[in-house]
Symmetry: C2
Subunit: 244 residues, 2 copies
DNA sequence: CGTTAGTTTGATGGTCCTCAAGCACTGTGG
DNA sequence: CCACAGTGCTTGAGGACCATCAAACTAACG
């Protein structure tokens, strides 16, 4: 991370704001402290307080809420380039749990480091909070979709949304993307049973739209999926820096 | 509003932070500019930008998102004491629409006024943003509940949640509260058809739990409702000021 | 007194859950 | 090398929940 090869977060923020040398340097310094977590073991528990934030450079994490009846709702996925637990830091307590999908080694960002960085470079703070707001809006959009769309449209929308997020950091395209999720993850994300997830995937595959198989999502008919999902591809397309 | 009788917002914020004389004065000054809106006519449209924020001292407003298929999802209700469109101001554009449930006369808060007030009294800013974060968390909680609970539990949870919000500003208790919503509003809120809303209400009434009738919600068995909904009453009970 | 908005009830059917069982693949230990 | 367990995927059958269609009823209002 010391070379001129930028981290996924840097790449993502550059889509919003043209960052200066100084800002890039501050951003890189936030990546210094590393920690390790193994797949399937919660990094943060719902209700925990005094939590640090993390920056994910590789691997996948999901954030979820446990329900009274024991089921869980996956609320969001963090992919390379995402901040994790930013809200926990700002609100001093976490209302989500975080579970690594695969083994990860995120950078740990202490509250004090974050505040220092924000004071030094307000434009960087703006960029980060901007990205956070965008993510928050996507969460609401996603949750609204769950209550309203039918299972196949939900699935199609989710896969397209995820593909867009990954494309922002260069990990996917309209052809497809690598995806370590199980069908159980999809079930908890979409509010469906695992059994029904499987049926829906089969249906989408047989209709020649998309294949989910062996850790890979392959789009066969991108336009068809967009139509089925009622997906609005513009709300992620930030075509250039908004601040120069 | 010039007397020693405080506005609902003041009352609500006082539950979080003990406000000084100066802060109270600044808060009252934000209430000066009044505007009128009639029931059922959108105040703000999804996608609109450069919007002011509003403070609601009386009446009800709902915020909602339109779906691709034409249905709508009501995301939140603003009741007396709530800020409205705070996020639109911060993000410069609105991703919700706002519709008054009854005729309302909210105070309009211009972006410049808000920023000025925040600079003058940072503690007031903290209190307002704190309240906003709490509301945001409730929105996510609510949307998650929609995908997971069954209709009767959804309804029970919603009515309890609403009752708690109203109790915070002195407009409700464990006995019940006045409620100008129609069953169509409930349907769009809970992601149910209006017909099914009616059936669920009948069922809850016949089980002696709660009555929704003639603009009034009456709790007959508060404990029973809490049990049915899996409602956690603590996450709203701010038993005293957190900052003194 | 017709109109409109809101509420109520019945009948029918689709989506999706639950229960149940079988298959494929991987890693582990005898 | 093979039995075994564990994890994840796949398919079938039956039924619950809730949407949709249809229609009647009430209250408010011009």
């Amino acid at each position: 991370m010391t070379s001129n090869e930028h981290s996924p977060l840097t790449r993502k923020l550059s889509a919003f704001v043209a960052l200066s040398e100084v800002e890039l340097a501050v951003l890189e310094r936030l990546h210094q402290r590393r920690r390790s977590f193994v797949a399937g073991r919660d990094m943060v528990h719902q209700g925990q307080s005094e939590q640090a934030a993390f920056i994910l450079s590789a691997g996948w994490v999901c954030s979820y809420k446990l329900q009274a009846d024991g089921s869980r709702q996956i609320v969001d996925f963090q992919v390379p380039g995402d901040f994790l637990g930013l809200r926990s830091v700002l609100l001093r307590t976490s209302d989500h749990s975080f579970e690594p999908i695969v083994d990860v080694e995120p950078a740990e960002v202490l509250t004090s480091d974050l505040i220092e960085a924000f004071t030094q470079t307000p434009r960087l703070a703006t960029a980060i909070l901007w990205a956070a707001s965008r993510d928050e809006a996507m969460v609401v959009e996603h949750l609204v979709g769950i209550g309203r769309r039918e299972a196949d449209a939900r699935m199609a929308h989710f896969l397209l949304e995820l593909g867009s997020k990954l494309a922002l950091v260069g990990l996917g395209s309209k052809a497809g993307f690598d995806c370590p999720l199980t069908q159980y993850h999809l079930a908890d994300t979409l509010g469906l049973s695992a059994v029904h997830v499987n049926r829906v995937l089969r249906q989408l595959r047989e209709h020649g739209l998309v294949t989910f198989r062996d850790g890979r999502v392959t789009f066969h008919d991108y336009g068809g999926l967009v139509a089925l999902a009622g997906f609005d591809p513009t709300y992620l397309d930030q075509t250039g820096p908004l601040l120069t």
